[in-house]
Amino acid sequence: MALRLTVQVQLVLQALLRDPATEMYGLELSEETGLQPGTAYPILLRLEHEGWVASRWEDIDPRAEKRPARRYYRLTAGGAAAASAALAAARRPTGTALRRLAEGGGAA
């Protein structure tokens, strides 16, 4: 199934594309995009399924860190190129408008 480039998907891709080499975890992405975690998670899963994003569990001792391990996401090489092309092709509203739309449609 082809990836549908919804506003929410665009926000996630934009956040990941800001620095494609840097990994981001769920909360970071949620704060960056303004999307609720429950909205961002299925998008990340879909992007991972399409091969655009790779993820891994953080390698820590949860007892020592006093928090559970995070799941980190980053764009794959192919994913970064595909995401850039897809975003360029998509009509791009301003960042503020995107955020407003996402808050209205995806944060319910």
Partner: protein
């Protein structure tokens, strides 16, 4: 977490219910005795009332790590924020929300549910208390659709190797 205090609270809440059951049963017994005299009603009615009262008052001890067969490593109310300031005990809203997430994860295939729950736990342990409720709601709202998608993917993946190739 203070499970003993929590159990004591529940016991206190049940006390009036138990008293009402006993009083009601005794009133009914006396009325039956007056309307239709016969000693055989009395032990039966008292027995039923006593059994009901005992049944209601039994408070099974809390079982750690229950709810999700995949969550055996966890205990308490989940979210794993060991130093959280809003840990409200096994009967509190946090535990209730955690149980809801656990139940929702059961809708998904095993591995997908496990990952979803682990990721939700990880995120919710770090998110601020003010945003936690909205985050949980968003997880709960997306769970049914996610369950459908993950099941569809699992079924397709399992069907693929068995597919007959022509020739």
């Amino acid at each position: 977490m203070m499970p003993d205090i929590d159990r004591e609270e529940r016991r206190k809440k049940r006390a009036p219910v138990i008293s009402s059951i006993i009083c009601g049963a005794l009133t009914v017994t006396v009325l039956i005795q007056l309307l239709s005299p016969g000693w055989q009603w009395l032990p039966l009615a008292v027995g039923i009332a006593a059994a009901t009262a005992v049944g209601v008052s039994i408070d099974p001890p809390g079982r750690p790590g229950t709810g999700h067969p995949r969550a055996g490593r966890r205990s308490g109310s989940g979210f794993s924020g060991r130093d959280r300031d809003d840990d409200d005990g096994p009967g509190g809203p946090t535990a209730h929300r955690w149980r809801m997430l656990v139940m929702a994860s059961l809708l998904m295939p095993r591995s997908a549910g496990h990952r979803w729950l682990a990721e939700a736990e990880s995120l919710l342990s770090e998110i601020t208390a003010a945003r936690r409720g909205a985050a949980i709601r968003s997880y709960m709202l997306s769970a049914p659709r996610l369950a459908a998608v993950t099941w569809a993917r699992t079924v397709l993946r399992q069907a693929r190797p068995g597919r007959q190739r022509p020739g």
